[in-house]
């Protein structure tokens, strides 16, 4: 076993959980600000589901390491987070939020569909649970993306701009972590390349059908999950503010 990664599964679960938590927080920023009331409610629900998925993954991590899930969320500094820069980006406009949600939902569906066969039973069981909930997100963001991409000139232009900004970052969602080879060999997680390929097979034709142009990947996506965009620190400062103000508080 690799000395520097005594618990590759714990590392992997932490990265996946952090993506869910940070995206949940970004989506929650729309509460009270969404373009229509129905979408305010929908985004709040989706954020709450992602938060639930983060909790499930933190608990799986905690079962291996003894960590406290609440402490993982509220008392870790930027450098200890393992979120991808894709989910850290500010929420942007509605097109940016929906495009990111669609790309993320499709990635999650592709992952969960494979994880239900994981050799690690607790992960396989959690995946089966999360997949059923994810169906609702995936459908919602898919419908929105069609409306935005094929809607007005302005909605199309904004959605294309979002794709141009997000596509180069999306690859990091799949980028293998240093300890992943062991997990893949043991049948615990799918190979990163197969996961990404399955995702592209779904999203490429769909984006084209939405009248969008997929930008060329001119540089490799960020790979190291210990390096963050400048947007994570302010997000954590806000998200962790109350918990850190009174760490002993109970509610």
């Amino acid at each position: 076993m690799n000395e520097s990664h005594p618990l590759p599964l714990a590392d992997w679960l932490l990265a996946m959980a952090d993506d869910q938590l940070i995206l949940a927080h970004r989506n929650s920023e729309w509460i009270g600000h969404a373009p229509i009331l129905e979408e305010d409610i929908a985004l709040a629900n989706i954020a709450q589901d992602e938060l639930g998925h983060a909790m499930v993954l933190y608990e799986l991590h905690a079962a291996l390491t003894g960590a406290d899930p609440d402490a993982l969320a509220f008392f870790r500094d930027t450098a200890a987070y393992r979120s991808a820069q894709f989910v850290e980006q500010p929420k942007g406009d509605w097109a940016f939020t929906m495009l990111r949600q669609y790309l993320f939902d499709a990635a999650e569906m592709a992952l969960l569909t494979r994880l239900v066969d994981s050799a690690y039973a607790p992960l396989a069981q959690a995946a089966a649970k999360m997949r059923n909930e994810e169906l609702y997100h995936y459908r919602h963001s898919s419908v929105w993306l069609q409306r935005l991409g094929r809607g007005t000139a302005e909605s199309h232009q904004r959605t294309q701009a979002a794709l141009d900004a997000l596509w180069p970052l999306a690859g990091q969602l799949f980028a293998p972590l240093p300890g992943d080879a062991l997990l893949v060999a043991a049948g615990v997680i799918p190979p990163a390349a197969a996961w990404q390929e399955a995702w592209e097979e779904v999203v490429r034709p769909f984006l084209i059908a939405c009248n969008l142009t997929i930008p060329a990947q001119t540089a490799p996506p960020p790979a190291d999950r210990a390096r963050h965009s400048p947007h994570l620190a302010p997000l954590l400062a806000e998200m962790q503010q109350v918990a850190r103000f009174d760490p002993e508080a109970a509610w």
Binding site: I41, L51, H53, M55, A128, K129, Y136
Partner: protein, 159 residues
Amino acid sequence: MKQERIWQALNEVADPEIPVVSLVEMGIVREARLDGDDAVTVVITPTFSGCPALHVMRQEIEAKMRALGFAQVTVETTLHPPWSSDWISDAARQKLKAFGLAPPPQHNGRIELTFLAPVACPYCDSTNTGVKNNFGSTLCRAIHYCYACQQPFEQFKAL
């Protein structure tokens, strides 16, 4: 005998978000195990994994079991098998409908297929209805509108 009393008591614990049905009728309580004379373990499973009512359910189950005389009560959560809306009992479906909440369609594991199924209005039974929002006031509800009786209504989502 003791098992029977435990389940009877559990069946009195109402769903915190839908108080007309019990946690047992909703299929949320999976198991009750006696561990000796004064200890019991109750296993529950969440409907949606982000359900914020879980801690209330735990507290209420614990209080109910203590009232039955158990000194030691453990409430465990499991995700396996994943909760299915197909587990909601027929009696509970009737109660949901009377509460104004359209019951979820049976899906036998194919949730995708229910997305296109017509939803009957819980007030007038018309299927001349349309979905207004796949997300509602709680994680488990969607918002529909009945064109026959001009009423908005909520549906318990298939899961």
